[in-house]
């Protein structure tokens, strides 16, 4: 297990994000986007072989598919049908962990995928819609990946539209406790965070090499709980880098973070 010295920030984020799935056991890992999908793939190939993944279409796989076009003779390791209607049976059973990239994440961990600015009747910017975020957020653990950590994503105040439930006492449904809500890792281009601070406050877990806690706080629109000692995010190992390269043969990961910076920015 030799730590690499030459790796990109995208690869660092993939390895950090794969930690979200390491101890999950036999659940469906859904990583939307290249970095979350590679994170789930890496976890399935290393720390958690019991993980389940789909081909992002309609089949469950016993081995993750490499991303992008594959050779004519490639045979996916299909193990069952898993169409969209069946995904909801899985979601509502709780045996899933999704990693997604919303447009806004507020101090409660509530997220927004739907609309920005204006009024709800006439938003300034209409986006996707709530998608499956409401159901995901109340049914199973979720993590976030944010390729550009800034105060537009981690904004002051509450999300313009709350697509997913967070640790907001004012919105807590009757009969539920804040502990029922399970937001795990928030992996960004600056750091890894979680909601393990006092009263579910967002907390700095690790800093990417060359990034300071002050930078994280400056780029977050609300107070981040910063423990006395914050470790650096672990560098990828050579083994991890080679698995990532095999899972992403067309190097789509190079286009996920602006300018594809190196992992160590010190």
């Amino acid at each position: 297990m030799t730590a690499a010295t030459d790796y990109t920030l995208a690869e660092l984020c993939i390895v950090a994000a794969s930690q979200a799935f390491a101890n999950e056991g036999e659940v469906l890992a859904t990583g939307i986007g290249v970095i979350p999908r590679l994170a789930a793939s890496l976890a399935m190939k290393t720390t958690n072989p019991d993980l389940m993944m789909t081909d992002s279409e309609a089949w469950m796989l016993s081995e993750p598919n490499p991303i992008g076009s594959r050779s004519e003779d490639f045979v996916p390791a299909t193990e069952s049908w898993m169409g969209f209607s069946r995904i909801f049976d899985n979601v509502w059973s709780g045996k899933r962990h999704a990693m997604l990239g919303p447009t806004q994440i507020d101090k409660y961990g509530q997220s927004n995928t739907s609309a920005l600015g204006g009024t709800y009747e006439q938003p300034k910017v209409m986006m996707l819609g709530a998608r499956g975020f409401p159901g995901n957020s109340i049914s199973h653990p979720n993590s976030f990946f944010v390729p550009s950590h800034n105060t537009r994503v981690f904004m002051d105040g509450e999300c313009d539209f709350v697509s997913s439930i967070g640790y907001n006492p004012a919105r807590l449904p009757r009969g539920h406790s804040l502990d029922d809500i399970d937001i795990r890792l928030v992996v960004t281009d600056l750091c890894v965070m979680d909601f393990g601070g006092p009263d579910h406050q967002v907390r700095l877990v690790s800093l990417h090499p060359g990034i300071s806690a002050e930078q994280v706080q400056e780029n977050t629109g609300y107070e981040v709980h910063i423990p006395g000692e914050v470790p650096p995010t672990a560098a990828p190992t050579l083994e991890q880098l080679s698995i990532i390269a095999a899972m992403d043969p067309h190097n789509q990961r190079a286009h996920q973070i602006k300018d594809n910076p190196p992992g160590d920015r010190s």
Partner: protein
Amino acid sequence: MDKQMSAAQVVAQLRDGMTIGIGGWGPRRKPMALVREILRSELRDLTIVSYGGADVGMLCAAGKVKKVVFAFVSLDFIPLEPYFRQARQSAAIEVMEIDEGMMLLGLRAAAWGVPFIPTEVGLGTDIITKNPAIKVIDSPYDDKEWVAMPALPLDASLIHVDRADKRGVCQIAGPDHYMDDWFARAADKTYVSCDELVSTDYFHDPAQARMVHWERSATTGVVPIPGGAHPSSCSPLYGFDVPHFKAYVASAREEAGFAGYCEQFLGASEEEYQQNVGGLEAIRAIELPTY
């Protein structure tokens, strides 16, 4: 029983103000030829229930829509649907924004004839605060509150399938039938366009019959339209038309807008449309997407 109809005959059955469900998912297996026939009609004030793609965008752009019931409207590889955005950002439409799974529950409730299905989904989010029509209720069995997802009954559903026989046995041969079985069951009338009309004995092979997801009694009309899902996909027959969708998205930034898109492509009939997009052979040659 022979349920064959033309697209024009389907649209003649629809009325202003109806609630219409549209099958498929984003850019995948949408009954676009039937949608185009609505674009050519005088219909208006429709409520559209859809896992939305260009079906929703085009109907909004053409002024056919009063309200959209949606969890997303997206072309997937192009995340934002340009004409749906325009409609929202100009307050041209009403919306009922729900979770993807809530839509499934609403269709199931309608299909089963129950007024609602209880769920946790939506609690703590703006799905509840922005939809006063969706009630949060007490449970007779525990001390929690639950979302009572209301039934989403449809006056009509429009669906595209790979194959059907004239009696309305419909086969979806692609890997996912999405929620189309529930759209068929939730609707008063279900109109299905198909890429291939087959004889009934086609389904005597159990491997073919296994890909039939609802009974023919849930199918009202069958409209044979080869290539009728274009520019969306109809796996495994053809993929979605990436250059066409890019041209469609680009049209939203041009002065002529959707009228310009229609001028270039829509035509007075599906035959004209297919000529304008390069013909059926070109549609059938579009590669399937790789995920």
